[in-house]
Symmetry: C2
Subunit: 333 residues, 2 copies
DNA sequence: ACATCGCACTTGCGCGCGCTAGTCGACTCA
DNA sequence: TGAGTCGACTAGCGCGCGCAAGTGCGATGT
């Protein structure tokens, strides 16, 4: 008779209470394990059973309104192309949060100014960023009533050293591996995509610092690699005596090695190349790319726990050593 | 004095109203453009300005509670590895929804039974799936009070032919291209990942149907390709006279071509291979992989519009021809 | 015998907003 | 002059839930 609204009459806590002859508050106390309430086990079970029987599901919007917490964690992803490893990373973070009753929502900032930033729409309890936010962004987020903003820069304070955890070790391992293979003059191969400029600069910086700290190693600087520039870069490397290349990621490495194969330049004899991320591409390429693997799942879990500790005002998780970068030596070094 | 709750006192519609000496209802009418209300332009502007000045942002949970719509679209992603193209797809869908005031949230079903399916936590207005839901899942979702569930299977009804839109054309184009190149005996190379089994079967089926419909073409069936089986498969193909391979995706194609290169089997002379998805891998590989490119951005937009038309009960969008699969012929065919 | 206390609950407010059902004065029309 | 209309608002309910502040009662203590 009524409009289609009646199509799915939701089951609310009132329904459960009425059907049991109890008050809604009691039902609420049971379902939330509200501390400071004494509920006999018998009642507890009755409520729980009836809730299940009727198919009761708490309404998140109402809960968020009343409690002030949405149980949502918003992760702002970088604008750069999502590499393969990121997916595992997110899956694991999501699963961990889920276990704690939180939902992970991801967003990519829209360059042309997103009409409604997701943190306004969703009102998450925490906003995390994989790259630092600008002060303006932080102000915006805070102004939307979000008290917890977590970015690498923020995290730097309370947890010294954790800042670069996500990517820190890779370039160091790359350089040390090349040096151990007997390479003496190293160059960094950067991607052309401007969105990656900052991260690439970070990786390159760390590689350079590692290299210059090692005796007998010469650091030859950065080259930007794209389809047009790869030939020039390789030529310059050869004439400059570069015998080892630290690539920003596997794509860049593949482009270099691909060019080498086409020009019959022997890899790794004349030029060793190591990538980063251990994408499927690295394993499949001919010759198979040496690269760096990071325990992205572990990192995802860590990230999630960090978010939880923030909302709960509890002690932050400790980073485990397994999260460091691991060398995957294949055919290009 | 009070607890840290006062840290960020939110600006509500009441604040805007009070500061203007108006009632909250008037403010609400202005901010929502509520139909059937006559608001003079002067008042409208006053409200709008004051809202901006005070930094008012509507509280989504409250709005969702009152209006019954969360303005969230939940997209359930397949469990399979996210290929490269998916990212653009999601970005575009997200942007389109955003423009309409909706937020796109994605989730991956957790095999070991997610504690809280995101559709219960989030109460989205629509749940969309990239792969069909099981009847049980649909019942679950419906039971959570969600009236709009959209999956390829569902969409089949109202929009005949649109069902396979997402992936439909690729295999056909692959087969036609190989045939046009003079290949006569074709095989399908399937991935080993069991999560991909269903989708792979669909692609393979369409390829087989296309092939058997063409005169002079022999369809040799499916081979599963992984690191261990690729050698056997290629050997069997050669002895069976297979001269063209339709690969499930670029990864599978790369594995085959990689093996061919290592065993000095000439590609494409002896064996032509075509991939699917046009990942970065395809362009970078040596030899560069022929593949299929799909306008994922367009598809994303289409998907978003489909969701919007569903919640608004309005006419569904029309699929544009640009969304079809495009051949990218490179060196392996 | 009376105050006290812990238990097992219930009453009811408030979260912020959408929206229906008004109110009230200015204006038109007969 | 009175009835009616219309524009510009306001009063206030209800969405479902969390939680503070009770309430009634039997058991315990002195």
């Amino acid at each position: 008779m009524g409009p289609d609204r009646a199509a799915t009459k939701r089951v609310t806590a009132v329904d459960v209470a009425r059907s049991l002859g109890l008050s809604r508050a009691t039902v609420g106390f049971v379902l939330n394990d509200t501390p400071g309430q004494t509920i006999p086990e018998s009642t507890r079970q009755r409520v729980l059973n009836e809730a299940k029987r009727l198919g009761y599901h708490p309404h998140s919007a109402a809960r968020a309104l009343a409690s002030g917490r949405s149980h949502i964690v918003l992760l702002v992803l970088p604008d750069w192309p999502l590499d393969y490893s990121m997916r595992t990373h997110l899956d694991e973070a999501s699963a961990t949060l889920d276990r704690a009753g939180y939902a992970l929502v991801t967003m990519v900032p829209h360059p042309d100014g997103q009409a409604q930033p997701l943190w306004e729409t969703l009102r998450p309890d925490v906003v995390m960023g994989m790259t630092p936010f600008s002060p303006r962004e932080i102000a915006d987020i805070r102004a939307s009533g979000i008290n917890h903003v977590l970015t690498p820069a923020q995290r730097e304070g309370p947890l010294p050293g954790e800042e670069g955890l996500l990517f820190a070790d890779g370039p160091r391992v790359q350089v040390e591996h090349l040096a151990a293979q007997g390479r003496r003059t190293l160059a960094f191969a950067a991607p052309a995509d401007p969105r990656l400029a900052q991260l690439s600069a970070e990786r390159s910086g760390l590689a350079a610092r590692t290299a210059t700290r090692m005796p007998g190693i010469t650091w030859a600087g950065d080259w930007t690699i794209d389809e047009g520039s790869v030939a020039t870069a390789v030529a310059e490397w050869l004439s400059a005596g570069v015998d080892g290349v630290v690539a920003y990621n596997d794509d860049v490495a593949a482009r270099i090695v691909g060019h080498a194969v086409r020009t019959r330049l022997r890899v790794p004899d004349r030029l060793a190349v190591i990538g980063h991320d251990d994408t499927p591409l690295a394993r499949l390429f001919v010759p198979a790319l040496s690269t760096i693997r990071v325990d992205t799942a572990g990192l995802g879990r860590y990230l999630a726990e960090l978010a939880l500790s923030t909302v709960n005002q509890s002690a932050p998780p400790v980073a485990t050593p397994e999260m460091q970068a691991h060398l995957v030596a294949r055919e290009t070094t």
